[in-house]
């Protein structure tokens, strides 16, 4: 089920009503309702893949309990390995089987061998990269004795499948989300209103900003050979906005929806396009994944301990793995490598933690220096996004070749409608800038404005969503 569908607009109030009014605030019943709702939500896409979700749930539930009972180091390691192999095995089969096979065949052929590949027509189950990482973190945290396993299967299954964040995150840690399934929940008026506001803002980002930008990004990237450097650069800009609006919009809807049920999910985006360097960008972009890699890969590898070489090696590993996590394509791996290269000068000069505050905090405009830094960082990410979006590495290099040519200085060939979309993007970025000190751009509306003004703002957003809705696109991160 998509957040931006009428199905969801009907589904959500029904679940909300049953959850708060029928269960009589009974925790176990509320969890059971959420579990059932989550299975319906997921099964709406394809019920057959529910089996994978249930399999992953069972594996980690039982491994969690066994890890608690077991004190033998070797056996504990073995149990953890079962969890890792099961979860990553699912991921490897559904997401990477054909990629590895194709590359193996190519390498074999290159060396003069002959092989008949048997590639499979594998459908990628929605959300598999997200829920496998979430369950993995549960097993790892128990193994590290940072977490007590739960014996309540329903609560655990609901933690794994919690519908607001099931298919595209934020990737929650058991230490944050799981205890919330055991706490009595009260419907807090201001939290619920804030949740609804965040949902509305998320829908605006997705439907108005991302989907309209997608139309031009797709047109330009799919016919890149026909366009000048300036148009291709504009195409990359549209994609940068699309992926931000799409993914952060999804996260906003997820976080807002969870609040309606009394849950608090972790923040996933913190205005990344206002970052002053690439390190700050990665502290603000897809936070739940970056911190997952930090906690479960970077630190176990030794983190920043062990000298410069180790730091550089570990940084490259997490960026490459992060790229590969996004998809079985060399374009994603190069995207990761490019970000690692951007990161390197900051790491070597120990400046990767200089911009920890909010840019131009308390001011309306940034300084010239800050503005230049933001612009430079944005342009770097723009170049990286070209690899992320292009159909192949060769395509990405061709696009870059055209961008860095004299045709960059021509007037972009875009239809009039693109100007309308650019205007909407400008308005959106201004609102984001004004709200950058909050959890999300509209968070402060309740404090700043009186109720009539506030409602006028909400009605305007609803109207804009209605009129300017782009061609219905699924969320980009559903494919990862």
């Amino acid at each position: 089920m998509l957040f931006n569908s009428i199905d969801f607009a009907i589904f959500l109030p029904i679940v909300f009503f049953i959850y708060w009014f029928v269960t009589n605030h009974n925790l176990k019943l509320q969890n059971a309702i959420l579990l059932l709702a989550s299975y319906i939500f997921y099964g709406w896409w394809d019920w057959r893949f529910l089996s994978l979700l249930i399999f992953s749930t069972f594996i980690d539930y039982f491994i969690g309990i066994q890890l608690e009972k077991q004190n033998d180091k070797l056996k504990r390691k073995l149990l953890l390995s079962v969890s890792i192999v099961s979860n990553l095995g699912l991921l490897a089969f559904f997401k990477y089987y054909n990629f590895f096979l194709d590359n193996f065949v190519q390498a074999f052929t290159f060396m003069g061998g002959e092989i008949s590949p048997r590639s499979l027509n594998v459908i990628l189950p929605v959300g598999i990269s997200f829920y496998t990482f979430q369950t993995l973190s549960y097993a790892i945290d128990i193994y590290r004795r940072k977490l007590e396993p739960t014996h309540d299967f329903i609560a655990f299954a609901t933690f794994v499948t919690f519908f607001p964040q099931l298919v595209a995150g934020p990737i929650e840690r058991a230490t944050n989300l799981l205890p919330q399934f055991f706490k009595k929940r009260q419907l807090d008026y201001s939290a619920a209103v804030d949740g609804l506001r965040q949902v509305l803002w998320g829908l605006f980002k997705k439907i108005v900003i991302a989907d309209n930008s997608a139309q031009f990004a797709n047109q330009i990237f799919n016919n890149s050979g026909d366009y000048s450097g300036s148009t291709l650069l504009l195409g990359a800009f549209f994609f940068a906005i699309q992926i931000y609006g799409d993914f952060s919009g999804y996260s906003d809807i997820a976080i807002g929806t969870a609040r309606l049920f009394g849950f608090s999910l972790m923040r996933n985006f913190a205005f990344p396009y206002f970052s002053r360097d690439i390190a700050e960008f990665w502290r603000r972009w897809h936070i739940s994944l970056s911190t997952w890699f930090r906690d479960y890969l970077y630190i176990p590898l030794g983190g920043s301990k062990g000298g410069t070489w180790m730091k550089v090696r570990n940084t490259f590993i997490i960026f490459l793995v992060s790229g590969f996590w996004h998809g079985a394509n060399w374009t994603f791996i190069i995207w990761g490598a490019l970000n690692a290269i951007y990161f390197l000068p900051l790491l070597l000069s120990n400046k990767n933690r200089t911009n920890l505050d909010i840019v131009a905090e308390g001011k309306v405009f940034p300084s010239v220096k800050e503005f230049s830094q933001i612009l430079a960082t944005f342009l770097l990410t723009l170049i990286a996004w070209i690899f992320f979006r292009a159909a192949s590495v060769a395509d990405a290099f061709t696009i870059l070749g055209s961008i860095f040519s004299s045709s960059l200085f021509t007037v972009p060939e875009i239809p009039i409608r693109a100007l309308l979309v650019l205007t909407l993007i400008t308005v959106f970025m201004i609102i984001e800038w004004m709200g950058r000190e909050n959890q999300y751009a509209l968070e402060n509306v309740s404090i700043t404005f009186s109720r009539p003004v506030r409602w006028a703002v909400y009605y305007s957003i609803v109207l804009m969503i209605f009129i300017f809705a782009g061609q219905g696109q699924t969320f980009i991160y559903f494919q990862f």
């Binding site: 009428i6 708060w20 419907l187 008026y189 619920a192 209103v193 609804l196 409602w455 909400y458 009605y459 609803v462 209605f466 009129i467 300017f468 809705a469 782009g470 061609q471 219905g472």
Partner: protein, 343 residues
């Protein structure tokens, strides 16, 4: 909780009211529109087609056959019901609606082509159905097989206008300025295209070097049913393969298979089939703006030629005039009975 429900209700109430009002407002304006396909649908639903001769088909019908020339030459009312971009499935729906809201036509010139019996998946120009959709079960059933609208669009007011910013923009422009919604210049359904030759054919051949037209079995059955229904209703039909630029005729590799299907229908129901594929017009690039479509000048020349051929073909001429005569007779009977009833 009570506060949340109360405030949510208060917030949503104006939106729900607005859904009904805005739906009525948009649909009401579009029902008066003269823009492109709206003008034809509106004429059908307002019973303004009422013609002896009607032209069916896709865009090729719409731009090839000028009803004004037909009217002047045959002295019979004519209307072009060609529907841009659609195969027979929706051509039939148009026919069905015409029969329900207008006087039965006497004679149908059905322009057929290689795509007539195919069925596209997407609902091309889907906005043309907007003002007629709400709670319209028949239309819902008819376009259900296309990727386009969901059942929410037919059952919840305003939902189908979601994201239709162009349509909404033109409606609001009319409301604000008081001017008429853009008139697309379709006259009695006909749309003359005064365009220069373009490279559509080159592009199409590059993109689909081995293109085959797919005959959709359900559409073929529907076409058969339609021919039978028309004959049973005393409506005469002539199938016409209007000119197609010679160089473009090899684009569809199984063209002969499609032509044989029409020949077979012609033989089965004893319906004339006029094929202009080898007519001198099909060899003259100056009459076309792409391989499948005649320009304004080409349409004028072709319509005159078709009428001349109809007049010179004793069998068809007889069909046209006897059918029209019956219709005139039927119409006068109807007006007489109306007169009697009203007095």
């Amino acid at each position: 909780m009570e506060r949340l429900l109360k405030n949510t209700g208060l917030f949503l109430l104006p939106l729900v009211v607005m859904m009904f009002l805005a739906d009525w407002f948009f649909s009401h304006h579009l029902r008066k529109s003269r823009e492109d396909e709206f003008s034809v649908w509106n004429d059908i639903y307002d019973g303004k087609v009422n013609s002896d001769v009607v032209i069916y088909g896709s865009s090729r019908a719409m731009v090839h056959l000028d009803p004004k020339i037909i009217k002047d030459s045959l002295k019979l009312d004519a209307y072009n019901l060609g529907i841009n971009g659609h195969n027979f499935w929706l051509q039939y729906y148009r026919h069905k609606e015409l029969m329900e809201h207008n006087r039965k036509p006497a004679f149908i010139i059905h322009s057929v082509d290689v795509f007539t019996l195919a069925k596209r998946k997407d609902l091309f120009h889907m906005e043309q159905f907007l003002p007629y959709m709400l709670y319209n079960r028949d239309l819902e059933k008819w376009i259900d097989s296309y990727e386009g609208y969901s059942n929410y669009d037919f059952n919840i007011p305003l939902v189908r206008y979601y994201g239709q910013y162009k349509t909404i923009g033109s409606i609001l422009k009319e409301a604000v300025t008081g001017t008429n919604i853009a008139d697309s210049g379709r006259y009695l359904g006909f749309s003359a295209q005064h365009k220069q030759w373009n490279d559509d054919l080159v592009k199409a051949k590059q993109k689909f070097p081995d293109f085959n037209a797919q005959l959709d079995s359900e559409t073929v059955r529907l076409f058969d049913r339609y021919l039978k229904e028309c004959i049973d209703n005393g409506i005469y039909i002539v199938l016409v393969y209007t000119p197609e630029y010679k160089e473009g005729q090899d684009f569809v590799k199984n063209r002969s298979e499609v032509m044989n299907t029409f020949q077979a229908f012609s033989a089965k129901y004893n319906i004339p089939f006029l094929d202009y594929s080898d007519d001198p017009i099909s060899y003259n690039k100056a009459y076309f703006y792409n391989a499948s479509h005649l320009n304004g000048e080409g349409a004028e020349v072709f319509t005159s030629k078709l009428i001349s051929d109809i007049k010179n073909n004793e069998r068809i001429a007889h069909m046209v005039y006897s059918a029209a005569g019956n219709n005139v007779h039927q119409a006068s009977l109807e007006s007489e009975s109306n007169f009697v009833a009203s007095h």
